[in-house]
Symmetry: C2
Subunit: 435 residues, 2 copies
C-alpha cells in the first residue's frame, strides 16, 4: 500500500494505449471519465500519458510511470490480438509470472456461447493474470481487468472499450482504492458554475471575495462556450471543505443571476428543474444547431415530464410544413432573421401546446453566411414565454461546433434567467418583438 | 532542423497542459485535432503527455520530452494569468532569454480596443517571445504562438483555446513543418471504412487479403459504435502508397456492401451524397436519440439540398401533434414499437414531402425501459423509401451515449445500403411492415 501521504499529494498516473488516440481517430474518453471520477473523490490525476501499442514504448513508459507514481492506471492492450502485448511486458517489469486462470477461460467461453459463437484460441491470452494480483471480472467483455499491489504501489489495468471500462472502474476499482485509503469522501474542489458572464469580467467581479481569503486558496477558471466554471481548492489543506463552501457561497451571492449552480449540473438540467417546479412544458425549434438544442433536454434524466419535443427545420419549406410559419415571414425577412426566429418559437409552442419555447436560426458555418449583415456565426434566438416572445441576435466567430454550442448555451441561459425571475420581459435582451 | 530520418520514424510529441483535462472537465480536443492533422500528413504522433499547470511539473516534462523528441508541440499555459508560467520555464531550459516585442503589445492593445476594453498590465506577459525564435501571430486571441528551431529539433508552443489553436496550427504550423521536410504529402495510413459488420467477423473476412500481403503490412482495427475502420500502414516503408491502396481495394471488393468508403467520410455524408445523386430528399423523426440523428445530417456540408428536417417527438402527444400519428397506434402498440416507428417514418416523409425517411424510437437508458420485452437499450428503427416502409428491432447494452450512437449508425447504414442497392426491400432486415 502506498505510504500515508495526504491524499491530495498522491501521484496518480493514467497511461492510455492506442494508435487511434494518437491519430485523433478516437477521443480520449478514458482521461475524461477517470479524471472526473477521481476528481469526485478528492484526487487530481497528476499525469496522463498516451502512447502507441508498440511493446517497447509500453515497457519504457511503464518503467517510468511505476517509478514515480503511487497509483498507475493503464487502459487498453488487454485484448486477444497479437498486438496486445501489454500484459506480458508489464509482468516482466514487475518480476511476476503470468498464471493461467481456468475460470477466466470459462467466462470467455460462456460469453462467446451466449452470442452463438465459438471462442478462438487467441482469446486464451486473456485468461492469464499476474501470479500475485487480483482479477477484476468483466461482465461486459472478454478481457478481465488486473489489479496488483506491490512495492507500496497500486497498478490497475483496464480493458479499452468504454462500455467495459466504465462499469469496472466504478464498481470494482473505486471501492478497492477507497478501502486502501487512497480516496477522499469529497470532491477535489468546490465548483461554482456561472453562465452569461465572460471569464475576465467574472474574475474582476469575484476579486473582492478572493482577496478576503488570501493564502492557501487556489482559484481556477474553465470556460465552455459561454459558460465559465470557477473551481476553488486548497491543495495544501489550509481550507477545509466547509471553508471552501463558504467562499463558494460568497461568490454566488455576489454573482446574482450570473450564478448558475454549485457542482456539475448542466444548463438544460437547471432549466428542466425550474420548468418542473412551475409545472411548465417546453418546445424547441432549430435550424443551424441541427438537433443539439433538443438533445440537450433529451439528455436530462426524466425530461419527458417537461420537454415536449422539437423541430429541426432544415429546409425553408420545413418551417411552414412543421410549424405552419407563414411563407410571407420568410419571404419578407429571410430564414435568418429575428422575425423568423420569433415565428419558429411561437409555432413550436403552439404546435406542441407548450408554455415556453426556444428557437435558434442562423449560419453556423463554415460557409453559406448571409452577407455583410449576417456573416457566418450569426444566430437569432427567440424565447416564447407566457409573458411574451422576444428575439435576440448573437454573433460568434469560431469553428462550427463552437458556434453551435455557444448559441445553445445562450438560448438555455436566456430561458434559465427567465424562469428564475418569473414571467416578464427578460432584462438586457434586444426586444425585437414583445407581445 | 531535425536529422534526416525517414518521416515515419520521427518522434513527434504533444504536451498538453491543464488541470481541467486531468479532472475530466474538458475533453482533450488538442490531441484529437493535432493527431488527426499530423496523421493526414504521414506522421503518427509518438506520445501525448497531459500534465498540471504546475511550473515544476512543466519543467520536468519539457526536459524529458525535448531530450527524446524531434518535434515537441505544447498547448496551453501562454495566457496572462499568474498561473501561466510555461514561457519562462521553457526559456530557462532552452538557455534562451525572453525578449519584449512591442508589435505584439500593440496587437493585444488593438484587440482589447476592438472589444471596447482596456488592456490590463498582466497581458504584457504575452508580448515576450524567445530571443532566437519566431512569433506566430494569433488573429483570434491575445497570446501568440512561439516557434523555436534549436539543437536539431523544433519546439512549437500554441495557445490553449481550440478556436485560436486550430487555425494557427493549420495556417502557420503545418506549412513550417512541411518547409523543413518534416511532413509527407500523404496520410500515415490508408483507411477502409466499413459499417454493419463486427470487428471479429471483419478480421475473419479480410484474412485472405492480409495473408497475400504478409510482412511489412500493419493492420489495425478501430470500432466506433457499430462502424469499424481498418487502417493499413507500413511503418518500415516496405509498402508504398500505391501498394497500400491496392490492398485497400482488395478489401473493398471482398467486403461488398459492408464496405463504406476509403478515408474519413461519415455515414451521413455518404447517405447525403447518394441522396443528392438521385435527387432525393430525406426527413427524420426520433425520440430516444434526442435530435442527434438530425444533427448527423445537419453537419454534412451542403446538406440543405437533400435534408428537409426532422422532428424530436419526446412526449407521446408530440407524435400526433407534429407528425399526425393516430393516437390508436400508440395506444395499441406503445410508443416503443415497430408500428410506432413505421408511423413516425411515414409521418415525417409525408409531412416534409420527402422521398426517404428514417425514424428511431426506443429506450436509451439509464432507466425507464419497457419491461422484459423491451429492456433499456431497445430501439426500433424504421426506414421509409419509395419502395416501401420497414422496421427493425435492435438491442444494445451499454451507456446511454453509446446506445444512442449505435442506433443512429444502424439507421444511417440501413439507409446507405438501401440507396446503394436502389429501391426495394433491403436484405436481412426484419420486415414488420412492407407496403
Amino acid at each position: 500500500m502506498p505510504d500515508r501521504k495526504p491524499i491530495t499529494q498522491l501521484n496518480y498516473e493514467l497511461v492510455t494505449l492506442g494508435d487511434e488516440l494518437l491519430l485523433g481517430l478516437t477521443v480520449n474518453s478514458h482521461l475524461s471519465f477517470i479524471g472526473q471520477q477521481l476528481g469526485r473523490h478528492g484526487v487530481t490525476l497528476r499525469r496522463n500519458v498516451t502512447i502507441t501499442d508498440d511493446a517497447e514504448d509500453i515497457a519504457a513508459q511503464f518503467r517510468e510511470s511505476w517509478a514515480r507514481s503511487d497509483v498507475v492506471l493503464m487502459t487498453g492492450g488487454l485484448g486477444p490480438t497479437c498486438y496486445d502485448r501489454t500484459r506480458e511486458v508489464v509482468a516482466e517489469l514487475l518480476g511476476q509470472k503470468l498464471v493461467f486462470h481456468p475460470e477466466i477461460e470459462k467466462a470467455i467461453e460462456l460469453r462467446f456461447a451466449r452470442n452463438g459463437r465459438k471462442m478462438t484460441p487467441n482469446n486464451l491470452k486473456q485468461a492469464y493474470a499476474f501470479e500475485r494480483g487480483e482479477v477484476l471480472p468483466n461482465p461486459n467483455g472478454t478481457a478481465p481487468g488486473l489489479w496488483v499491489e506491490q512495492d507500496g504501489k497500486v497498478l490497475c489495468m483496464l480493458p479499452g472499450p468504454p462500455n467495459e471500462l466504465q462499469p469496472m472502474f466504478n464498481d470494482q476499482v473505486l471501492p478497492r482504492l477507497a478501502a486502501l485509503g487512497l480516496l477522499m469522501e469529497r470532491e477535489a474542489y468546490v465548483q461554482v458554475r456561472t453562465a452569461g458572464i465572460g471569464e475576465s469580467a467574472l474574475e474582476h467581479k469575484l476579486q473582492p471575495v478572493f482577496d478576503r481569503h488570501r493564502g492557501g486558496l487556489v482559484v481556477a477558471f474553465c470556460a465552455h462556450a459561454g459558460q465559465v466554471d470557477v473551481r476553488l481548492s486548497s491543495p495544501t489543506g489550509k481550507f477545509g471543505e466547509p471553508q471552501l463552501r463558504q467562499v463558494a457561497a460568497e461568490c454566488a451571492i455576489l454573482l446574482g443571476d450570473d450564478f448558475m449552480c454549485f457542482g456539475h449540473d448542466s444548463l438544460a438540467m437547471i432549466c428542466a428543474d425550474a420548468l418542473r417546479a412551475g409545472d411548465y412544458t417546453l418546445a424547441v425549434a432549430e435550424t443551424a444547431t441541427g438537433g443539439l438544442l433538443a438533445d440537450a433536454f433529451a439528455n436530462v434524466h426524466g425530461a419527458s415530464k417537461c420537454f415536449a419535443g422539437g423541430c429541426v427545420c432544415y429546409s425553408n419549406e420545413s418551417k411552414s410544413q412543421l410549424l405552419e410559419i407563414p411563407d410571407e415571414i420568410m419571404m419578407q425577412h429571410g430564414a435568418v432573421s429575428p422575425e423568423t426566429a420569433v415565428a419558429m418559437a411561437t409555432g413550436a409552442a403552439e404546435k406542441l401546446g407548450a408554455d415556453y419555447a426556444l428557437a435558434i436560426t442562423g449560419y453556423s458555418g463554415p460557409c453559406g453566411g448571409g452577407g455583410k449583415e449576417n456573416p457566418v456565426g450569426t444566430m437569432y434566438l427567440a424565447l416564447y414565454s407566457p409573458g411574451g416572445v422576444w428575439s435576440r441576435k448573437l454573433c460568434y466567430p469560431g469553428p462550427r461546433s463552437t458556434v453551435k454550442q455557444r448559441a445553445i448555451n445562450a438560448a438555455l441561459d436566456w430561458l434559465r434567467r427567465e424562469l428564475v425571475r418569473g414571467a416578464g420581459c427578460s432584462d438586457g435582451s434586444v426586444h425585437s418583438h414583445c407581445g
